[in-house]
């Protein structure tokens, strides 16, 4: 049917071709009346018939020279019998390149063009048919996608509004428990603090006592002549009291530590002197150790291990002394705590419910805020990743999420962008996607990916390239881009502009 119709049309072109000027389509033939003045089709000037196709441009719109290259803005009509008529730019007439498949654009014998229309026409029809079938198959799948997508959207919307409603209840429940929780926690905290404070005081008293004992030991040791007075000559024997580090403990230095007196008894030592010197004072054994260590200091500091070990051995000793545990709470406090624990548990459960609901709401919102196409057909791609490996890299596209590449030989993945927005032309924005703000390039922008979408029966990443540094281009086929095929009839109505 189709071929027959085409044949008839072609024959009718042929019949008229002899009568109309070169490069004019049958549709416009009536404007070119041999022998009559020609009116430029859009610019409107009138020129004698002899000026038509005389290889000189007279009309502003270029329509007096449909069959020559004279007008820079003109068009030449190729009949292309066996294929499909088409217009070419006038400058392509007689330029030595065969542009029309029937070779009609080259008639000045610069070049001999064969007629390839039959071949091209057949090929194109085959391609068109193949594409039509592809579209048909793809469109079937797309319809499923559309259904799924719409269903998913409806479900998610419903769930969202349900959750939003529940949210108020859940929050109110949680808040109510919070009030109770605050009520039981107040006496609990008070009791615990009281207990704690008492313990701190007891600990301080014990510490003071320990200190006095230490002071007494030190006093006994310092009081070399055992006259129950520590005097400055006794202090002078302890090199740690050498304030100006001149190697000797002067009288002044010794006296300064003794509160500017010549000597003190145990009571005064414990009350006044010990606090000032306890961090300086070294018992004889320790002083000896330090002295021996000194010459090796350089070596010792060179090794981190030794330093660490030194600290380790010093600390546990002191910690051990103080590691007294707080006694358990009294019964009353214990009861308060147990009561509070019950409410707290209740509260945590309620709060978790709110948080779970919030998370679900956020997830739903995130889903719903993406535009999955006019019929939700692209939602089928969500949460799916597709890979393509070329000579050097494996490229990955996770729809509505991210794009990336990693070296084929192994290595870390580089982000080529995160889902940004639809990127097709204004009239067909679902033609392409943009993933942006990927890993930054040296001295350049952050990486981004432009994904061109094509109709195909499967979701597949079919191409990946980097036309500009750090600007990637993916080709992706998906049934979601398949249009409803036009009915077979009426296709060749587009044979002329």
């Amino acid at each position: 049917m189709f071929y027959k119709l085409l044949l008839i049309l072609s024959l009718s072109f042929f019949a008229q071709a002899a009568e109309r000027p070169r490069g004019v389509s049958s549709a416009k033939a009536s404007f070119y009346q041999p022998g009559k003045d020609f009116k430029c089709l859009t610019s409107g000037e009138t020129v004698p018939w002899e000026f038509v196709n005389d290889d000189y441009c007279d009309c502003k719109d270029g329509t007096d020279e449909p069959g020559t290259s004279a007008c820079a803005n003109g068009f030449f009509f190729c009949e292309n019998r066996g294929h499909r008529g088409s217009y070419i730019i006038s400058s392509r007439v007689n330029d030595g390149i065969c542009d029309c498949c029937d070779g009609s654009d080259e008639f000045d014998e610069k070049i001999k063009c064969g007629n390839t229309c039959d071949e091209i026409g057949r090929k194109e029809r085959e391609e068109r048919e193949a594409f039509r079938q592809l579209q048909e198959q793809g469109y079937k799948i797309k319809q499923e996608y559309m259904q799924q997508g719409k269903r998913a959207k409806d479900e998610k919307r419903a769930r969202l509004s349900e959750l939003e409603k529940q949210m108020a209840e859940l929050t109110a429940a949680r808040d109510e428990i919070q009030t109770r929780k605050d009520e039981v926690e107040a006496p609990e905290t008070e009791a615990k603090e009281r207990h704690q404070k008492a313990w701190e005081e007891l600990k301080a008293a014990r510490q003071a006592e320990k200190d006095r004992v230490k002071a007494a030991h030190a006093f006994a040791e310092l009081d070399a002549n055992r006259d129950n007075v520590v005097d400055y000559p006794e202090m002078q024997k302890h090199l740690e009291f050498d304030i100006d580090s001149d190697g000797t403990v002067s009288v002044e230095e010794a006296r300064e530590y003794l509160d500017d007196s010549d000597g003190v008894d145990l009571a005064k030592f414990q009350d006044k002197i010990w606090t000032n010197i306890k961090d300086i004072y070294k018992p004889p054994a320790e002083a000896q150790e330090t002295k021996e260590a000194l010459p090796d200091e350089d070596v010792a500091t060179g090794s981190q291990d030794e330093e660490d070990r030194g600290e380790d051995s010093a600390k546990p000793k002191e910690a051990g002394e103080e590691e007294e545990k707080m006694p358990p709470y009294d019964e009353e406090t214990q009861k308060l705590i147990e009561a509070a624990d019950v409410v707290r548990k209740e509260y945590d459960e309620a709060a978790d419910k709110v948080k779970d609901a919030e998370n679900e709401v956020n997830g739903l919102k995130k889903y719903l805020e993406v535009d999955y196409g006019p019929d939700e057909e692209f939602s089928a791609l969500r949460d799916q990743c597709f890979e393509l490996t070329d000579r050097e890299y494996t490229y990955k596209l996770c729809a509505f999420d991210k794009s990336s590449q990693r070296p084929k030989a192994g290595g870390i993945e580089t982000s080529l962008g995160k889902w940004g927005h639809w990127y097709g032309p204004e009239e067909d924005k679902y033609d392409a996607m943009k993933y942006e703000n990927g890993q930054s390039c040296w001295n350049g922008p952050s990486r981004s990916t432009h994904v061109n979408l094509h109709c195909g029966v499967e979701n597949k990443l079919t191409g990946a390239s980097e036309p500009s540094r750090c600007e990637y281009q993916f080709e992706f086929t998906t049934p979601a881009r398949c249009k409803q095929p036009e009915p077979v009839t009426g296709q060749h109505q587009h044979t002329e502009l």
Partner: protein
Amino acid sequence: MKVAGFFLLGLASVFSVQRDNFRTCDNVGFCKRHRALEPGTSSYAASASSMKLNPTSVSLDVLEKKSDVKFTLTIFGLKDNTFRIRLEEKDAMRKRYEPPVGDVLIKVPEGEELKYNGQSGNQLTFNKGTSRVVLTTEPLRIDVYSDDDPVISINSQGLLKFEHTRPKPEAPPAENQDEENKEEAQEGEEEQQKEEEVKEEEVKAEPEEPDMWEETFKSHTDSKPFGPTSIGVDISFPGVEHVYGIPEHADSLALKTTKTTDPYRLYNLDVFEYDLYNPMALYGAVPLMLAHNEKRTVGVFWLNAAETWVDISSNVADKSIFSNLADFVTGNNEIPQTDTHWFSESGVIDVFLMLGPGPKDVFRQYAALTGTTPLPPLFSISYHQCRWNYNDQDDVRTVDENFDKFDIPYDVIWLDIEHTDGKRYFTWDAAKFPNSIEMLRNISSKGRKMVTIVDPHLKRDDNYKVFAEARDKGLLIKNKDGGDFDGWCWPGSSGWPDFLEKHVRDWWADKFSASEYVGSAPNLYVWNDMNEPSVFNAPEITVNRDIKHLGGWENREVHNIYGMYVHEATMDGLLKRTNYQERAFVLTRAFFAGTQRTAAVWTGDNMGEWSHLKISNPMIMSLNLVGITFSGADVGGFFRNPDNELVTRWYQAGAFQPFFRAHAHLDTKRREPYLLPDENVKVIREAIRARYTYLPYWYTEFFTSEKDGAAVMRPLWVEFPKEKATFGIDDNYMIGSALLVRPVTDQGATNANVYFPGAGEVWYDVETYQTYKGQQEVNVQAPLSKIPVYQKGGTIIPRKMRPRRSSTLMFDDPFTLVVALDPKQEANGQLFIDDYRTFKYRDGAYGFIKYSFTSHKLHSNVEHQGSGFTTKEWLERVIVVGLPHEPRKVTLHQSGQTKELIFTYDSTTHVLIIRKPGVNILQNWTISLH
């Protein structure tokens, strides 16, 4: 392409030149020594008694009185108002390098009788035509007069300094330490110590100064085995305020005084992201200066291939800097004078003085010395599309198809370094370009060409045939110790053939044959980049000065000429492919005097910034002034991402510059013109088409320039030499004698100041035919779509108005003649046509037609039609602009026949369009307006 940015990667986003990679005068021993000289009495004296007179030359002995070293001074009279002055050492210990005759000078310049006119006091006078040379013997000085006006004085300030060859001092300070110590002696302390010792030496003996026998820059030590060899002298131009030339510098057209800067430096260097408006050296060097005033233009050509510096001072310009109160008070009205001081690291003093008297005379005089740009094949003056890089064959095909889809003409698509197998030139990346022949055939089917890059560095890889062969045959340059020089460039460790040697150039040329360059085709041409040469890990990103060339020369002696030999050998290789039948095309980044004969030049790695668009005009004009007429700048700018407006304005400028190529760095966004918004695509399409419509004019200009050496892109003063207001203008220029161009180079501009030169001239806007009177500046409307271009009244320009996909497809297309009338209602023009691609025009196979309009008649006069040369081209249309009244009738007279022609006349614009004379272009005829 590009740059030695390789080693700068660590310095992320530092967007300007790494100045400390390059030496300033303070880092260069001989520069410091010459610059330190004070004007005074020269210690050189000529001996009148030693004078030897020859018919066209005279020579004398010259003595440097402090050192007692003898020199020979020779003054040559040359044809066409030119003199040559040479000073060389009489008993030199070592021969000094001079570029062989045939390499820079195309031949031994033809002599002309020099008449000895006797001695008066210590002055000897020699006459030649209307010029004379006065030689003062002591102190030595040479004054050149033209028509009794002093025009050039040499050594009038006594700055002559010729460092004679000398034995290395037996115990020079640097040698006090043994070798091992010397290695370590690079630390500052020791360095200082050395200098101090040198100073001691200085006092007691011959003036030995630091840096004479060894110099260190950054971590590099220059061994200087031959010691100090520099030469220098002052050259003054009395009565001159403006000097031009000595490219390559990113600076204004009129050279500036260097009182407060370094001297202008000539040393071929790969400068990463170069700065503007300073005298730093760039990729190429032509030591030719033009000095111009209202009365006269003269040229000085300093024939020396070594590093050269030029100081410029001017009693006018410097006065404004150091305001001279004394002059002001006394009202001293002294004559302006520009003093220059030239010094080179080695070589001899060999200076050509071209006395004009007009700018075009100087062009011709210089052309007689170094040759001209041969007529480029038509495709090469069309539009070139380049990028680092078109990734693969698919990419090339897509770009090619898109140009057709968007109906934008282009002739040549280019491939940068990534097309090769691992930067091994003459090879292809097999994965990306599996079938280059098919790709080339596809391009060729639309008359288009391809250019691939071939750099002179060869990857050190035994399996890379070109390298292995060069190494095995001993063709590589050597390091100072005699081994093959090993440096880093794009492929990593590399070797460099020694292009100074003819046998190496011949070897290289053979690499372009179809059998050697596998995957090439006849429509493939070549681009030589990195030929300074660029060496990433060497001092100043170029070879060490003490590396050895095969002929025994150190690179310091020949540095600036190396790059020219590279592109010369490349061009020879391309011509050999067709047995010298078809013309070819080579683009080079490095250049020297003589480069014009075998390559086009571009201004290297510029930036996508407005300032770089602006500087492209003076930079290309400077190249044009020194004979490199076929030159251009990367359209769009190489580095960075220019915005749409800048790209668009750059296309408009590039369309009216001689070499028209868009190029972009690997890291930039794609910017092929069709990728821009519709508004910009439209404007760029029009700009490129405008280029194609003017191709016949460009082609004719290149043809005449091959004969007379004239600049194609001309400063206004070349066309209006007496009009002082034009001397400093470098944002307006002329193409030939007929077109005035003022590219818009300011962001957001919707207006432009155009200077219309010429008292009594009238200029026509080429689009609107609006008229402007000469000798005035006018602020014209220049929205984004507008390129301010004007045709001079009195000229006739041939155009082809049918835009095709490439220039090849326009060969047979008809012409339109645009006759722009001057106030006397007259105009003249010319047209050259041939086959647009072969050398047959040199055998006379071309047509040359003169057009003249006078007394209401347009005459076509075929001045030359080679026997057997015919063309299908015909005359489609004649546009007469500036015709005040509508003719009653227009008739065509040819071979006794008369035919009436149809015409239209616009009485508001005064434009007459004559319809379809239809005559073949190679015919004599007359069109009469009645």
